[in-house]
């Protein structure tokens, strides 16, 4: 999985993910969120447009990132999941905690 970080300013970073978010790649996401938050960007938008697959390890990395961002006074939001990702979110009752936004670039437009 590839991760590209885009700084939108105002403490917002967009992480564009590409590939599979599973036990192989989960630690890379945790590290990137940690780096962004340590660099003062505590509002993290995770763009899932190009994530073709997620498992419970990948979900754990998103939850870890959410906690990291919140501990720094921010938040983590996800955007544009595919049908497989939506299924995993639904089965694990995570749709409320990880509400899916349409577009990562505007996920924090309301603050």
């Amino acid at each position: 999985m590839d991760i590209t970080v885009k700084d939108l300013g105002d403490g917002v970073a967009v992480l564009h993910l590409d590939g599979r978010l599973n036990m192989v790649t989960a630690s890379g996401l945790r590290d990137q969120v940690g780096t962004a938050v340590a660099g003062g960007r505590n509002r993290i938008a995770v763009d899932l447009t190009k994530i073709e697959f997620i498992d419970s390890s990948g979900l754990g990395a998103l939850i870890n990132g959410l906690k990291t961002a919140r501990q720094a006074g921010g938040d983590l939001r996800i955007a544009s999941p595919n049908e497989q990702v939506k299924l995993v979110l639904q089965l694990t009752n995570m749709e409320r905690l990880l509400t899916a936004y349409d577009d990562a670039e505007t996920a924090f437009i309301d603050g």
Binding site: R20, N22, M23, S56, S57, G60, L66, E83, Q84, L87
Partner: protein
């Protein structure tokens, strides 16, 4: 009616990992266009959770060998995974989901939600796992 097809994979982890299973399934789906997208990603999710569990928990330190068979019949898709890891000390009874801020503990519940049969047996010093999903009609 589609014929039964059988696909096999022998892997050693490490260096193989769950991406090896994903790559095998890509060839399975390419050869089975009759399987719906919903069946594909549901079964793939369950199998990857199973393989992740085996790789993560069954490695006694010397790596692990796995033989995976995926069989597609007219009404089912079945995976049999045989591994050389430690005896599976994993309850197959579906647990409730952990608290929403817990980062692990959801894999087995996901498997049970996505397949109709989950079986485990220990014989010949090997773990034998089997999951089966009834295909959409």
């Amino acid at each position: 009616m589609a014929e039964t097809s059988v696909h096999t994979l022998a892997m050693v982890a490490p260096p193989d990992d769950v991406d090896t299973v994903h790559e095998m399934l890509e060839s399975v789906w390419a050869s089975a266009p009759q399987i719906s997208m919903r069946d594909r990603f549901s079964f793939e999710t369950a199998l990857i959770e199973l393989a992740s569990n085996v790789i993560r928990h069954a490695d006694g330190g010397g790596g692990i060998s796995c033989d995976l068979t995926v069989e597609i019949t007219a009404d089912q898709i079945v995976a049999c995974l045989i591994d050389s890891g430690l005896a599976g000390n994993i309850s197959l009874i579906a647990r409730s989901m952990p608290g929403e801020l817990e980062e692990s503990g959801r894999g087995l519940s996901i498997i049970h939600a996505l397949v109709d049969e989950v079986d485990y047996d220990r014989s010949d010093d090997l773990n034998h796992w089997r999951i089966a999903r009834t295909l959409d009609s």
